[in-house]
């Protein structure tokens, strides 16, 4: 028991209070600045309602999420096994690692021209960008996860007579899973950043498109801000899913320093 353990009410009270103060500040800051372009919170709420009424908001959210679902899903499906393999065979990683390390710092946005050449302007390009952006962090996390498995666990596994395949499935993978989850979580965050950027350039639907479109078609900053808030809220929700995963007991051990 620590003294600074927050009470249950505090868990909700402080974030709500912070958000409230922020809204009040925003409201009066807009009034004080006498801006007629930048909307206050009420106007943004009205904009969001308008989008809901027209039925575009749900459609755009669905489009953005499905792009992330496909691109990120593919990156996970290919990246985890690939990373596990690289971690398992150090010789293979020596060959591939320099390439990965070089590709990794390239911003996914720098790939936009390449994506357009390869796939044209459209959905496939956006999905490709999301795939690229999430693939490398997933590979690297999975590879390092395997490499960092304490040798004691592998030895214990071998001691109980496990074949190499079983050892990978029953010891190395679960031992590396907390690190893999961290990689997946980071990659999902990046994927969500990238989908918005990709939609600004390459497609005509989605939340990123909404931001650009609302601005271009008549400076509707209330819609811009509404879209931005949606982007933030969904990003937060996606992150919370992973935080939930990290709480599972067969994974949580990897996140507790004192364990």
């Amino acid at each position: 028991m620590t003294l600074s353990q927050p009470g249950k009410w505090e868990k909700y009270f402080w974030p709500v209070l912070t958000a409230g103060i922020f809204l009040v500040f925003w409201h009066y800051a807009v009034i004080a600045s006498k801006s007629n372009v930048f909307p206050g919170p009420w106007k943004v709420l009205g904009g969001a309602q308008e989008l809901m009424r027209k039925g575009v908001l749900i459609g755009y959210i669905r489009d953005s999420l499905s792009r992330v679902g496909v691109g990120y899903g593919l990156a996970m499906l290919l990246g985890v096994p690939f990373g596990l393999t690289l971690g398992w065979y150090p010789a293979a990683s020596q060959v591939v690692n320099p390439v990965i390390q070089m590709m990794r710092p390239i911003s996914p946005l720098a790939w936009i021209p390449v994506a357009i050449v390869l796939f044209g302007v459209g959905n496939t390009s956006a999905v490709f960008l999301i795939f690229l952006a999430s693939f490398f962090p997933i590979v690297v996390a999975s590879m390092n996860g395997v490499r960092n498995v304490p040798s004691m666990y592998r030895r214990a596994g071998r001691n109980f007579g496990l074949s190499p395949g079983k050892l990978l499935a029953k010891v190395v993978f679960p031992a590396a899973l907390p690190q893999i989850i961290v990689g997946l979580r980071i990659a999902l965050g990046i994927a969500w950043l990238v989908v918005v950027a990709a939609e600004m350039l390459a497609v005509d639907s989605g939340l990123g498109y909404l931001v650009i479109d609302a601005r271009n078609s008549g400076n509707r900053y209330d819609l811009v801000i509404a879209a931005m808030i949606m982007i933030g809220v969904i990003g937060l929700a996606l992150d919370l899913i992973f935080r939930r995963l990290e709480q599972i007991k067969s994974i949580r051990w990897g996140f507790r320093l004192e364990a």
């Binding site: 666990y153 030895r155 214990a156 001691n159 109980f160 007579g161 029953k170 679960p174 051990w253 507790r256």
Partner: protein, 263 residues
Amino acid sequence: MTEEKVKTPAAKAVKTKLRATGINKTFKRDGTETSVLENVELEVAQGEFLCLLGPSGCGKSTLLNICAGFLSPTTGTVTIDGEPVTGPDPRRIFVFQERGVFPWLTVEGNIAFGLAKLSKAEQAERIAHYIKMVGLQGFEKAYPQELSGGMKQRLEVARALAVNPDMLFLDEPFGALDSITRLIMRGELLRIWEAERKTIIFVTHDIEEAVQLADRVVVMSARPATIQTIVEIDIEHPRDISSPRYLELRDGIFNEIGLAHKI
């Protein structure tokens, strides 16, 4: 093959379980070679409790890993039941300090780890049996992070025993525990050993621990380690640790290692 015999404290003739002959081990690091073990000869009888004792860094873990098949000696051979050791084997389980339990599995899951070949019913029976033996009832569904150090250590012992090995290798298994838990664990290990009569090689650098547990204490010199002497502990269990014979044996080992028993 002729039946091999070694002497035990009770002077009973019993079968040799493990025989290490002419073991040398050198490690290469940064181009320099360090000799860790030199010409180690060791025989362990079936059902014997043997302690390896020696100063830190002398090569006890190295020797134990060679016996368990995790390392191969530079020269020399280890045979168990007359067969040369070429790798780890589920018939002989290595127990690490508590950290060897799998944190992603429950207590039950850990004990069941080596039991995949058994039917579900047999698994359940073994799990229940060994949970009871090591006193973890009520913690079947708990994860290692919810257990104390001593409980984790008992879990690892239970996981090892559950596959019914005929040998156990323990590398300073109680080293990370507090002194009270350590004493309790020694008692429990002896109780289990007396019930199951596994052959045990137990590494420690604690002289008292060695004299309390072992049939024979193998005293190793500093690196490169050779076997300096082997001391038979001819005291019946349960041992009275204030008896003159206990103190005599203990002090004998203190002198052997070159430590005056005074601070």
